[in-house]
Symmetry: C2
Subunit: 105 residues, 2 copies
DNA sequence: TATAAGAACAACCATTTGGTTGTCCAAATG
DNA sequence: CATTTGGACAACCAAATGGTTGTTCTTATA
């Protein structure tokens, strides 16, 4: 099986984004995370697994509870990519500006 | 069918991210975009459609060619969400810092 | 100790996704 | 005019996705 898990795919799902948002206020166990979502705890656990696999959240056992904590440093990959794309995109306009200034004379 | 197209889902696919990167250097037609990807032009056209539907690229007819241009302002939604999540996440540490300073005395 | 609660594991299911091929049409080009 | 070329449309397919239920196991708790 090819490990296709990446951060971009992880944040693509709205439920997972909600989980991240919820966890950004502080660590919670799986049951707590699942509250207020209209889906089964098992479904939540699957989302948690995906988020964990790509490093967005970390897990720690505490008695019978599995405590999840956000590790949002992993989101750098996303902002880096957006920033890089936009940098190139903006350079395009700068080149056009330069061209327009040169031909104006 | 529910319109589930959003920017997060659009950038989840690596091929689509490559397309965006390619277009951030300047507009291209569908055939040009498809070059160097090992997949069919039809597959590329489908990706283009998705990117267009969520506003990341715009299309304009030019003779028989369909010219695609990046509209990376739409990526704000992504950076905004990441920024907001991280803001909350950092506040968590600030609260902890405050607590530690207060109890140290 | 009996029971409730947190979570893992597995099997299953419908829908979506990312890709394919084939046909067809309009616009360039020899 | 004949032929490429750019692209649209449709049908189809395998795999992935997001969800379900049922069982089991361990840890708390009344």
């Amino acid at each position: 099986m090819i490990e296709r898990r990446d951060v971009f795919q992880a944040i693509a799902d709205p439920t997972r984004r909600m989980i991240i948002l919820k966890l950004s206020h502080g660590p919670l166990n799986i049951t707590k995370i699942g509250e207020d979502f209209g889906i089964s705890k098992q479904a939540i656990a699957k989302h948690i697994k995906i988020l964990n696999e790509c490093g967005i959240i970390s897990m720690s056992q505490k008695g019978r509870e599995q405590v999840c904590e956000a590790q949002l440093g992993q989101l750098d990959e996303v902002t880096d990519w957006v920033t890089e794309s936009r940098k190139l995109w903006n350079q395009r306009f700068e080149k056009l500006d330069k061209f327009l200034k040169e031909t104006k004379q």
